[in-house]
Amino acid sequence: SSHEHKLNFKKSKEVCLSYIQDAMLQKQWKRAAEFLTFYTESLEKDFSTQYMGPSEMIWRIGTEILCHHSHSSMKEFNSFTEQMKTLGVKRYLKVCLEHAFHLLCNGLIDEAYQNLSLAESWRFGEQTAIQDKEMKLIQAYRGLLDYYSWSKQKTILLEHGQDGFEDLSVEREMHSCFRKAAVNLKEIIKIPGVWDLFVKCYVDLLEFYGDHNEARQVLNEYAYNSKFPANPNAHVYLYQFLKRHGESKKSLISALKILHDIVPSHELMIDFNTMLQKSKKRKKRRLGLEVIFAALDYAGWKENVKAWSCLARQVKQIVISEKHLDWIKQEWNSRKDWWPAFHFSRYLAKRNWQENESLSYEKAVVAGILLGKDCKYFKYVSHQGCKAQVKRFRTLKKFVNKHNPVYLRISG
């Protein structure tokens, strides 16, 4: 490699920066700090139109170093960040926000609150309008901290209430926190985005003060407004709300339907299947079967007894009624090539039997029906079960033997 013997300001700062980056990648914080001291003078030539100029670099790098360096303290960090705030007015609110996050991560909630409040009151000509997004975030997080205070006071009140005390000042505090929080939280969730935490808190507030309509509207918006990015949690929150308020099965089911579409492996699929199985409508029961099969496609569900028991119950019920065997056939069609190895191998049979008898039982039910009495899994488990003289296995064996022809119809 040819070593240049020329050097100018720009080049030497580029080289310096690469040394800093190397040191940081290797977590050599002292070395990074050392080279950063030589890089800082690039601030004196900061008329760059680059996307990321020296002042932003120094802010980001300095923050990283101060976060990780063993000798650095919160005090140092604060003093550094305050300087960074004065460096670039275009970045002011962003720096404030990140500063607040850092304080929160270190448990300094009051300081974070002060910071956010201070930032909220910042005005700087047309910059205020340009940095509108950051401002909304600052207000939202401050609202969140207001919620947090509210929550603490609520707890105090309830405790006092139990002890028979009445505490007017705390109550007043609490209500004022509520108002502050509500205003800001409401604002941010209007903007399309992912605001799980804010939504939850806001809904909590609304529910406490009895404004269920508003709460429902907020959750519906969050879940169904197409401008918002697809977010499984939105549906979960809505479902949980509806459940809390004793809504009809119909609305619960419709809330979970979309969740199934987005995240077939969601843990709520069990609830979903349970509701659907019990439904009087044929379509719903059919959907239930689809849901539970889909869930068990995922490796994370392999050892979930509850899920297997749902599936077992449903296929058993279908087999006994001798109606809708075609449903099973349809579901099994795309799975018959890989489920046997995935769920019903001999190895798994052994393991399941050793580790979890209930699991092996439920799986055996399913295996026996889908793969017949001669399949590895069923044979092994039922044999073991009968040997151990566990009653239900004997019952199971009889059942599968009786309905064996069904398997032939399914697999054919």
């Binding site: 013997h5 080289v15 050392e34 003078e41 120094i58 101060l66 003093s79 300087q83």
Partner: protein
């Protein structure tokens, strides 16, 4: 002043003083025969040059500054540089006489002083290079001059179209620069005059060093600059308080890159021609700059055996580059190629290494093994030189030093305490930024651990040094070349019979600026390694050394090249 007569032409009372001491009317430029009474005896004994436009120059401006001209600034720079060179051991003659006179001559030739005034210029009084009178002494003008160049003695006539142009100067400059003529300076037409720049100050220095034949090459000089021993970067911080820099001055005096060898060298040649200098003092074989001497130095620094010196001398003699006529600078003489002494010496060594070791990535290692064998049997006398051992030692050191140098480049600081601002408006912002930089440096400096800011290393002529006292055998100065030489007709010649030319044909310098084109991949690695070594020592690109090597080879094998026949015979004396 106290001349209150009405002008004959325009009846105004608005008088100024010409250089000749005559009054002239500022409104209509009518020159009278009335002369100013000489008040001071001092006045008579020295020819003085006064500022024309405003009698005495304006003393204090609102910010405590005074008027100053760009070339005064440069004069100060040169003075500081000369002082630093004196501190490094250069003889005081350089500062007091040589550099001074060069500078004065330059001012004269470029019509900035000591001469008839063309339109658009103001005359200024300059202080001498002596330490006694200085720019920052009494604010009154004019100051004294010791004149040793005959052209500047006596009365100087003035141009009458003066007043209008000077007012133009003062209008435009007060806004754009701290100096009076900053903006005018940058607008100047380049063709006749050689405009002064910061790199050119080094050209001046080098020219003076060369005139005195001081033991400092251009690469040494530039290295001292980069290491901070010679004021160059931020030299304006030595300007007196009253000389305020702002606006366009920054473009003139602010340096943001290391001086480049080629640039400084070429400017020096231009300058020497511009100043109509005569033939420089002869470079003889007792001079430091003579290839025989420099080769010795570089051989030592490259940790090569002293015996190689015989060979370098032979090459030098053979191609006649040791002649005073070849080595001495004759300004303006385009027919002779100008000599870069340091590059030349390095190139000679490279050629010698090629002669003895071939450096084709095979032969040198073979020879080394051969020498190693001989060394096993050779118990008495000094060890034979083994290329392999030398290569390992040098590579190790070179890598370490190069790494240090790379880090130094990353850590180079360009700014200084004295802040610079383009205009008064920006001043507060600049100061705030500077303060923040200092704060950040302190904050992160503490987190750097126990790393102390390194003290400026003492300036040294050698970057690499090897001592024969080291018992680890890492010094090769005393090693013998016997292992790779053979006796032939009573003379020691190289065992290597072959040679490869770096290039068959030299380029025309005028067309592409180079005599040859060096690409690392086209040449053997050993050759590249040797180039890299000297490239590090001289702080220049390997291609410059390569160019010089090509030229030397062409001189050396001139006859054979002319014959255009294959050459397999070795070099014989």
């Amino acid at each position: 002043r106290d001349f209150n007569e009405r002008c004959a032409q325009c009846s105004e009372v608005n008088w100024g003083l010409t250089d000749g001491g005559r009054f002239y009317c500022r409104s209509c430029h009518n020159v009278t025969e009335r002369t100013r009474e000489v008040v001071n005896a001092d006045f008579i004994s020295n020819a003085r040059i006064q500022t024309i436009s405003k009698g005495l120059r304006k003393q204090e401006k609102t910010d405590g500054g005074c008027e100053w001209y760009v070339c005064e600034g440069f004069q100060l720079v040169l003075k500081k540089q000369a002082e630093a060179l004196e501190a490094l051991g250069v003889c005081p003659q350089m500062k007091d006489e040589i550099l001074c006179n060069f500078w004065r001559r330059y001012l004269q030739k470029s019509k900035q002083a000591y001469c008839n005034r063309p339109a658009g210029e103001t005359v200024k009084a300059l202080s001498v290079c002596d330490s006694s009178t200085d720019v920052d002494s009494e604010p009154e003008r004019p100051s004294l001059l010791h004149l040793s160049l005959s052209e500047s003695e006596g009365d100087l006539q003035t141009d009458c179209s003066f007043a209008s142009s000077t007012s133009r100067v003062s209008e435009s400059t007060s806004v754009c620069s701290g100096s009076v003529d900053g903006s005018l300076y940058l607008m100047k037409n380049q063709r006749e005059k050689l405009r002064m720049t910061m790199p050119m100050t080094l050209s001046f220095c080098y020219m003076a060093l060369l005139w005195l034949r001081e033991p400092m090459t251009l690469s040494d000089l530039l290295r001292f600059v980069v290491e901070g021993h010679i004021p160059y970067l931020n030299v304006f911080q030595h300007f007196p308080e009253k000389m305020k820099l702002c606006g366009l001055d920054l473009k003139i005096f602010c340096v943001e890159s290391w001086p480049v060898y080629e640039e400084v060298y070429n400017k020096m040649l231009e300058l020497a021609a511009f100043l109509d200098l005569p033939r420089f003092p002869d470079i003889t074989d007792s001079c430091f700059l003579h290839p025989d001497m420099l080769c010795m130095k570089y051989l030592m620094e490259a940790n090569l055996p002293d015996e190689l010196h015989n060979w370098t001398c032979r090459v030098v003699k053979k191609i006649c580059i040791g002649e005073a006529d070849f080595l001495t600078l004759v300004p303006g003489n385009k027919s002779t190629r100008n000599v870069k002494y340091d590059v030349l010496a390095a190139a000679v060594i490279v050629v010698v290494l090629k002669l003895l070791f071939l450096l084709d990535d095979h032969y040198e290692w073979l020879l080394s093994d051969f020498a190693e064998e001989s060394n096993k049997n050779n118990k008495e006398g000094g060890p034979y030189f083994e290329f392999k051992k030398w290569y390992k030692v040098i590579k190790c050191s070179l890598d370490v030093e190069q790494k240090k140098l790379d880090e130094e480049r990353a850590k180079y600081l360009w700014r200084c305490e004295k802040p610079l601002f383009y205009s008064a408006k920006k001043k507060s912002k600049v100061l705030k930024r500077r303060q923040m930089v200092v704060n950040l440096q302190n904050q992160f400096g503490k987190l750097s651990g126990s790393v102390q800011p390194a003290e400026k290393p003492k300036p040294s002529s050698f970057q690499l040094s090897w001592s024969e006292e080291n018992t680890d055998g890492s010094c090769f100065h005393g090693h013998s070349l016997k292992g790779i030489l053979q006796e032939k007709c009573g003379l020691l010649t190289a065992m290597n019979p072959a040679y490869w030319l770096c290039t068959v044909k030299l380029c025309t310098e005028k067309l592409c600026g180079h005599l040859a084109h060096y690409r690392e991949v086209d040449f053997p690695q050993s050759y590249h390694f040797v180039l890299r070594l000297f490239s590090f020592i001289l702080r220049i690109q390997p291609s410059y050394i390569h160019d010089e090597v090509c030229v030397i080879e062409h001189k050396l094998f001139n006859k054979k090249l002319c014959k255009k026949s294959k050459y397999n015979t070795g070099l014989r004396k």
